[in-house]
């Protein structure tokens, strides 16, 4: 077991070096995708299937965006002149820093023996108190749901920030190719896949409290589905253009819904207090509260991730600046 982990870690390190050192940007991005994939396998091995799922779908979105965005501007700096003095001093600092950090990290509890304090209580009481047998989800959406609000806000912030930054930008030349979509074969396959992806995303989100997954993973899966549809059918196709126009608002509505769920709990006593009863264990309704929250997050993340993708990879977002305005 440990050997596998070590092997994967070394693989990750090698992949990271490749990603940074390969000159071709496309290869770099693909290498980073491979690193992400390896990481998610590692997460799986380390007993973190939720993280593994999320990691893999996030990696898909990230790599897609990176490829779409950087493919057209891949101009590696021509000169590779490096300042020897800077590199040498950087190296010395890095080595010192590494050994200092290593000197501290050896004092951590030994690997494989976590100092579980609150977590033990979560494991003991979580399923009973929240109705979610997936304790990670119990923590994420009930014990520490306030963090999740912050997390949802972070992604919203980043998306809105990206929208704000690319507003009024020149529409890239190859975007017209995106408008057209891809070949018939791809379209046909996509049509088949799309339904599956959507159902899978929904399932991942809905059953997040029982099985690995949750609103985030499901949301990113759904977003991946829309991304696929956009790429295959073209940006002008109905699903892409309709949902594209709505996406940032779906994001806001999802976040708002999540906040409202929290506020409803406040009426009963505490901000974020559960206000729905627990059902029978191991059933969908065992934690209806968490399901609701997962759905809100699902909408939020789907909207957000898709809006981000569209803004960065396809569209010039938002209306053209009005006359006389400063962009």
């Amino acid at each position: 077991m440990d050997v596998t982990i070590y092997g994967l870690l070394v693989f990750l390190i090698a992949g990271a070096i490749v990603a940074l050192e390969v000159r071709d940007l496309l290869s770099s991005v693909i290498a980073i995708g491979v690193v992400g994939l390896g990481l998610s396998i590692l997460f799986l091995l380390l007993g973190a299937p939720d993280i593994a799922i999320t990691q893999v779908v996030v990696e898909v979105i990230v790599v897609t965006v990176l490829i779409r965005a950087t493919a057209r501007i891949s101009d590696e700096p021509a000169s590779r002149r490096t300042d020897r003095f800077a590199v040498a001093s950087g190296l010395i600092v890095a080595v010192v820093l590494f050994f200092l950090s290593a000197g501290a990290l050896v004092h951590l509890p030994a690997f494989g023996q976590p100092a579980m304090t609150v977590s033990r209580w979560y494991l003991e009481q979580g399923p009973a108190l929240t109705g979610a047998t997936n304790v990670v989800m119990a923590i994420l959406l009930d014990f520490r749901a306030y963090d999740t609000l912050g997390e949802a806000t972070v992604i919203l912030t980043a998306i809105v920030g990206a929208l704000a930054i690319v507003r009024g930008a020149e529409r890239p030349v190859d975007a017209r190719a995106t408008d057209a979509g891809m070949s018939l074969v791809v379209r046909a396959v996509t049509r088949w896949l799309l339904g599956l992806i959507l159902i899978f995303g929904l399932a991942v989100a809905l059953f997040g409290h029982l099985t690995p997954g949750g609103g985030f993973a499901g949301g990113v899966v759904l977003a991946c589905g829309f991304v696929l549809a956009t790429l295959a059918f073209g940006a002008r196709s109905p699903p892409a253009s309709i949902f594209g126009r709505l996406s940032s608002r779906v994001d806001a509505a999802g976040a708002l819904a999540f906040l409202l769920i929290a506020l409803l709990g406040w009426c009963g006593g505490h901000f974020f207090q559960r206000w729905l009863d627990l059902g029978r264990p191991f059933r969908l309704e065992s934690a209806t509260f968490i399901v609701l929250q997962n759905v809100a997050i699902l909408f939020k993340v789907t909207g957000g991730a898709f809006a981000g993708f569209l803004a960065l990879a396809v569209f010039r977002s938002g209306p053209a600046p009005e006359e006389g305005e400063r962009s």
Binding site: A86, G90, A94, V96, L97, L100, G103, A104
Partner: protein
């Protein structure tokens, strides 16, 4: 109403009122200005014989407390009365000065009033932090006066504010250090001046020395001693003469020297080395500034350098540590305020009537401006230390102080400075009032009573303080150095040898009691008057021809006197042409020694901020590494 509050409150409240008035109502502002300063004068005069204290708890700052505490002893009430008087004269003069040529701009009268209030407050404050507050109020009003007075005044105002601000910060530091030292010693009210006076801080250790030097820096910046002087000449060129007259008259000199006197007499007990430093600064100031002054062709700048130079005498006197020297230094502060205000105001009249301050373009105005000429003559003789005027008395005391302190070197410097001052003022008088008159100035004449009254009053004061020097010495300066005023008004402190009282004071202050030369102003005046009388009689009876004026002809043509006019400044060129000294003076003129300008050039650090992300990231990692190292190895 507590009478002690009035000298601060009256100008303060009138000042705020005037500030609230719209600019259109300048008549009302002028009236408020006159009223406020007069009120301060009267209120302070009422305090002259009173020893009073006012105390209100205000707030605690950690171990220290900032109380609203005022205290009047002989010294401070004299100083306040003086501030009030000068303020009144300046405001009166301003009313005349601004009548036609130029209008007051910005909050002129409010600033004058608030400055008066600030000066009065600073002098009366018994709590050192309160002193700092009033002190900074003065700096602030000065800045506003200069910055808004003329469109071109902003750089000068900025420079003044900055250098004075340095002094303010030094004062703040010194005060806080004092307070903490006393608080740590377990004294109650560690910031009260009276506490400090009861427990002076020794300057044997580094901290005490630091406190003294900080106080010295604060006083030097405010009073304008070298090397913190450079704001005064700059300001002089860019502000109106009344403001410049107000500066030595009511603000900087009075405050700076008042502080220095308090510090070295009461609050601290300076060691010999520190006294020597003070004297050194004083003598350097005297000489350097007077040399700079001789170089000037602009009357305002010339006067400003003299204003700096005179500060040297005050510091020198206070630095001697001998009774007569200290008294001389303080007395010189009062005298300097009188004659320097008079000089600036006279210069103002000249500027207003002749339209220029360039000495080269002035001349022969003694018939056009008789009152101004007379007053300026008196003041110039006074600043040059000619008996029996007040400047002589105080300088004489400073000389004696040097002798008593056993520092003949400084005595020589002081005497030399005095000679140069006289030479410089001969130049001024010659180039403004004597010599040939440029034709453009033929129609110049004096106008306005408001302009002349302050001049006359000040000139009269020069004479009075010279002839009856014992009165201020007994009533004001004596209390300042811890002597009780004599029961009867007559008789000089110095003459009557009541220094036995002094000898009983702490050993540090003890000065040789009996053995120094004395000067008796009244009899000396009588003798001088006799001498002058004899001279006049001789002149009259000898039918001496004083001056004849004839036209000069060349080739049958009369020469235009305008061509052959020799401005007085021509005679002083040589000073600038001396080897070595000339170069130094030229550098001084360029501002090389001006600390303020040195600070403006600092390019080196900016080059480090290259704009490269890599560099910035590297700094962060370096910082983290150092932090980690620190946390590991300690």
């Amino acid at each position: 109403m507590e009478p002690l509050l009035l000298p601060v409150l009256i100008p303060g409240v009138t000042g705020l009122l005037a500030l609230a008035l719209p600019g259109r109502l300048r008549r009302l502002q002028q009236a408020l200005g006159l009223l406020g300063t007069l009120g301060a004068l009267v209120a302070a005069a009422a305090l002259l014989d009173v020893r009073a204290a006012f105390f209100r708890e205000w707030l605690r700052l950690g171990p220290l407390n900032l109380d609203f505490a005022l205290r009047a002893d002989g010294f401070s009430s004299w100083a306040v009365a003086f501030v009030g008087l000068m303020g009144f004269l300046v405001v009166l003069y301003s009313v005349g000065w601004f009548r036609a040529a130029e209008r007051e701009r910005g909050p002129y009268y409010p600033c004058l009033l608030l400055a008066t209030a600030g000066a009065a407050g600073a002098v009366l404050a018994d709590n050192l932090l309160l002193l700092v507050l009033f002190w900074e109020l003065v700096s602030l009003t000065l800045f506003l006066l200069a910055a808004t007075g003329r469109a071109s005044g902003a750089p000068a105002a900025a420079k003044a504010f900055v250098i004075v601000g340095c002094g303010d910060m030094a004062l703040l530091l010194a005060v806080v250090l004092c307070g903490v030292l006393h608080a740590d010693a377990g004294l109650e009210r560690p910031l009260a001046a009276s506490t400090l006076a009861a427990h002076p801080i020794g300057t044997g250790d580094g901290l005490g020395m630091l406190v003294f030097l900080l106080f010295l820096a604060a006083a030097a910046a405010k009073a304008g001693a070298i090397p913190l002087h450079s704001w005064i000449p700059t300001l002089a060129r860019e502000t109106q003469p009344p403001v410049m007259a107000f500066l030595p008259g009511a603000l900087d000199k009075v405050l700076g020297i008042y502080l220095m006197a308090r510090v070295s007499l009461e609050w601290l007990s300076p060691s010999h080395a520190l006294r020597f430093v003070t004297m050194l600064i004083g003598s350097v100031t005297i000489l350097a500034a007077v040399f700079m002054a001789m170089q000037q062709h602009d009357l305002r700048r010339l006067l400003a350098f003299h204003a700096v130079s005179q500060v040297g005498y005050m510091l020198l006197g206070i630095g001697t540590g001998s009774l007569v020297g200290v008294m001389g230094g303080i007395f010189h502060m009062l005298n300097n305020a009188i004659y320097k205000a008079c000089l600036f105001l006279c210069a103002g009249v000249v500027e207003r009537e002749a339209g220029t301050m360039e000495l080269d373009r002035l001349g022969g105005l003694h018939r056009n401006l008789p009152v101004t000429f007379g007053c300026m003559l008196v003041a110039a003789l006074s600043i040059s230390g000619v008996p029996p005027l007040n400047g002589f008395v105080s300088k004489w005391m400073v000389y004696q102080g040097c002798v008593v302190a056993g520092q003949p070197m400084f005595l020589i410097v002081a005497l030399f400075g005095s000679v140069l001052t006289l030479a410089s003022f001969v130049k001024v008088l010659h180039s403004v009032f004597w010599g040939a008159r440029p034709r453009a100035l033929a129609a110049v004449n004096e106008r306005g009573l408001a302009l002349r009254v302050p001049l006359l009053v000040l000139a009269a004061l020069c004479v009075v303080f010279g002839v009856f020097a014992t009165v201020p010495l007994d009533q004001a300066i004596g209390p300042a150095v811890g002597l009780e005023p004599p029961a009867t008004g007559a008789g000089s402190v110095v003459l009557e040898g009541r220094l036995a009282a002094w000898a009983a004071a702490p050993a540090e202050r003890a000065a040789p009691a009996a053995s120094f030369a004395v000067f008796q102003p009244l009899s000396a005046t009588a003798l001088l008057a006799l001498g002058v009388l004899v001279g006049l009689l001789l002149a009259y009876f000898g039918r001496m021809k004083v001056r004849t004026v004839r036209s000069v002809f060349i080739g049958g043509e009369p020469i235009d006197p305008e061509v052959n006019r020799f401005p007085g400044t021509e005679f002083y060129r040589t000073v600038g042409e001396l080897p070595g000294l000339g170069r130094v003076l030229a550098q001084g003129e360029k501002g090389t020694f001006d600390l303020y300008q040195v600070l403006e050039r600092l390019p080196l650090l900016r080059r480090l901020h290259t704009g490269w992300l890599t560099d910035y990231l590297f700094w962060c990692f370096l910082g983290l590494t150092v932090l980690l190292g620190v946390f590991f190895w300690t």
